[in-house]
Amino acid sequence: MLSRVANSIYWLNRYIERAENVARFIDVNLNLMLDLPSGVSQQWKPLVVTTGDIKFFEDRYGEATAENVIQFLTFDLEYPNSILSCLRFARENARSIREIISSEMWEEVNTFYHMVQEAAVNNGHHNVSNLFQQLFFHVKFASHRFAGVMDATMSHNEGWHFGQLGRLIERADKKARILDVKYYILLPSAQLVGTPLDQIQWIALLKSASAYEMYRKYQHRIIPASVAEFMILNREFPRSISFCVQEAERCLHQITGTPVGTWCNGAERSLGQLCAKLGYITIQDIIDNGLHEFLDGFQKELNAVDDQISATFFSLSPLVSELPMNRQVQTLTW
């Protein structure tokens, strides 16, 4: 498979998954804010802080009001990680590999992009919070639909595995960030830990990750450490961090044909190390060393895995150094 094509299908899936997770990310905050007692001021700045793009945001918008933050993360085309930007890049990638993916996949991406694009045009004409809740619902669903269509209509060949790899890595990364939001929300008022409000927030978090029902079956009570364990280490829940990286490892080895547990390139080695670490750590270890610190470290290691994947499979530099490269927009930290 052409390196450019592998790169495009990897990023096509990352961008779709990213759009979905940005929607989840805002949604978790919308839900948290709705449940705040009156008198407690809303916090939207932490959302931008966790993206790592706070400076870019402040230069463009100034104050972190709900409206500004949502506009920034949803429709801002100058911001490469907004939902609309992600879908535009996803569509460009899909367009450049239309002959590789199924036409159903292309139609799904095309419709998805036009749906959000239309919402951006209509933005401001409607009841805003209502519009956004509906929009985020549709974004999440369109992302699921894309994954389903891809699964059902494309041969499970090398290209498909690259796509899965992109989606799983993106999902693991964003799951870490969504968990981190909770940490930031609570940071200014440590006395709220353990209160009913704290519990409501963990529930909102689980719901935003579509994990609430599955969590209840696994562990009936809402216990913060258990919620974190479920979202990070559960081996059966498809949106847990551990599940995502183990699956990603399987895809990577399907591509190369190397047995899992061994390695033949930097990508396999760095992902294997990360999987081993997650496979043998306990939630108590994580909490003892700090949840935020763990999540931060995990994101860095995952970035290293992504770098290795690029270098191993997509890198165009060794052969055509004088020509411009196919640079995906990934300059920002998430």
């Binding site: 052409l2 239309r98 002959e99 139609e107």
Partner: protein, 480 residues
């Protein structure tokens, strides 16, 4: 929906012999349209247009940074060509392509036709499409132009004329195939009664043509379509053709010359490419041989090509025959190389570098179409009868400054086809041309039945190019 009042008087109409009287070939279609309710056609057309947009069957209109995607406007009423008419066209097209191919092989090698003075040497040497780096090349099987799109028109009396030949990278076949797909789902019943020739096998013929170029003894040659990328106006077509043939779609940045071969970079290392259907203009193919500023092509590609280690379709250098001055000599080429009379006439053409022709052109601008020899897309032309005095003065100056660059032709009265116009259900005649696609495999020349019918959607307009507000119609060639 009644077409009884449709009046084609004054023009050659492709579907009607006279008011209220459909041609025999079109009668079942017209009868069927007459049974429709008002609004049915318009609704079908809108549904078709939405379907095409969703499928992304679009072309790009260039703007400052990104292309704007547009659906190629599409008219739901097809154009019909009788079996008899088609049989008259096919041998004419074959003859023309055969002669053009011999011409290309000759001017890049022995140059007999120039030495014998049949075509003036200075015309060829001053043609921007004549590429010196191609001198002495011998493409596989002696074929230079594998894929041609030749534009035809019919005049007021129904006579066919060749308007121009497109020998570099003719576009449009994907719209032909997609429009047919849409019409089949819109008018299934009509297809069953009318014996329309099927066209879905074009990708198979194209693939066979490309495979025939692969070096002998290669068990499983790698064929690829080379595109400038997603912002090219015809990108949809490039990706469509690659997909329909099941071959790779590549860009210049995927390619590199390595160990004397053209190779594409894959996730498992470099892999040889044997046949390239290039949808890039000649001068972008290889910055070391042609335009050094181009980033689209592959440095060293021409060396690999010269060594016979990769085949290119069409061969570089074919663009010389797209020059409208060279076009004027095609009838001479047919006589010279084949010893035959041309079956399909050219439009009579005045060549402004000839003093006598130029004087005539300058004195009769109002009744002529003036065209720049090397522009496409309906740019750089003057339709005398629809021009202002200022525009004519401007063209007169241009012609005098660079006579080699201009030709003029009488204004033909292009044939028309009933077309849905305005916002409602009105049907009126609109002018059309026809671009059939011809594949040259050396031992065989295949003419694809039908082709792209372009329609000038503006009332009275003779310019059918999509960049000038033209649209397309499905073209039905009937079987006997």
């Amino acid at each position: 929906m009644k077409l009884e009042t449709y009046d084609p008087t004054g023009y050659y109409d492709e579907l009607f012999a006279s008011k209220g009287e459909p041609r025999a070939s079109a009668k079942p279609l017209i009868d069927w349209i007459n049974t429709l309710q008002p609004g049915d056609l318009r609704r079908s057309q809108e549904a078709a247009q939405i379907a095409l947009f969703k499928l992304g069957v679009t072309f790009n209109v260039y703007s400052d940074n990104e292309g704007i995607e547009k659906v190629f406007p599409f008219d739901i009423i097809p154009r019909i060509i009788s079996a008899q008419d088609w049989k008259a066209l096919e041998p004419g097209l074959r003859q023309r392509i055969t002669a053009l191919n011999l011409f290309l092989d000759d001017i890049y090698n022995e140059q007999r036709i120039l030495n014998d003075g049949v075509v003036p040497r200075h015309i060829i040497e001053s043609a921007p499409g004549f590429l010196k780096p191609c001198m002495g090349l011998k493409p596989p099987g002696g074929v230079w132009c594998h894929i041609t799109g030749t534009d035809l028109v019919r005049d007021r009396d129904g006579q066919w004329y060749v308007l121009e030949d497109n020998l570099r990278v003719p576009s449009g076949i994907s719209y032909v195939l997609e429009n047919r797909r849409v019409l089949k789902s819109t008018f299934p019943s009509v297809f069953q009664t009318m014996a329309v020739q099927a066209i879905d096998d074009y990708p198979s013929h194209l693939l066979e043509t490309l495979l025939s170029l692969a070096p002998d003894q290669l068990p499983n040659p790698t064929v690829a379509v080379l595109t400038p990328g997603i912002y090219n106006s015809a990108y949809y077509e490039h990706s469509f053709l690659a997909q329909q043939m099941g071959v790779e779609l590549i860009e210049g940045r995927d390619l590199v010359v390595l160990d004397g071969y053209l190779q594409m970079r894959t996730t498992k290392g470099p892999r040889r490419v044997d046949v390239v259907y290039r949808r890039l203009d000649d001068i972008f193919l290889d910055p070391t041989a042609f335009n050094p500023d181009s980033l689209l092509g592959v440095p060293g590609l021409m060396d690999v090509y010269r060594a016979g280690r990769v085949a290119l379709a069409n061969a570089p250098g074919t663009g010389v025959a797209d020059d409208k001055v060279v076009y004027a000599f095609v009838p001479e080429m047919i006589r010279y190389y084949l010893g035959e009379d041309p079956i399909l006439p050219n439009v009579p053409t005045y060549l402004c570098w000839r003093d006598k022709d130029r004087d005539h052109v300058l004195q009769n601008l109002e009744t002529l179409v003036v065209k720049s020899a090397n522009e496409a897309g309906g740019y750089g032309m003057l339709v005398g009868s629809q021009s202002t005095a200022a525009e004519r003065a401007e063209f007169a100056e241009k012609i005098q400054a660079r006579p080699r660059n201009y030709i003029a032709q009488p204004i033909l009265c292009l044939s028309q086809v009933p077309t849905l116009v305005g916002e409602g259900n009105e049907i009126a005649g609109r002018h059309v041309d026809l671009r059939p696609y011809i594949l040259h495999r050396g031992d065989e020349v295949y003419v694809h039945p039908g082709g792209l019918t372009r329609v000038a959607l503006k009332e009275g307009s003779l310019v059918v190019n999509s960049s000038q507000g033209g649209g397309a119609k499905d073209t039905w060639v009937l079987t006997d």
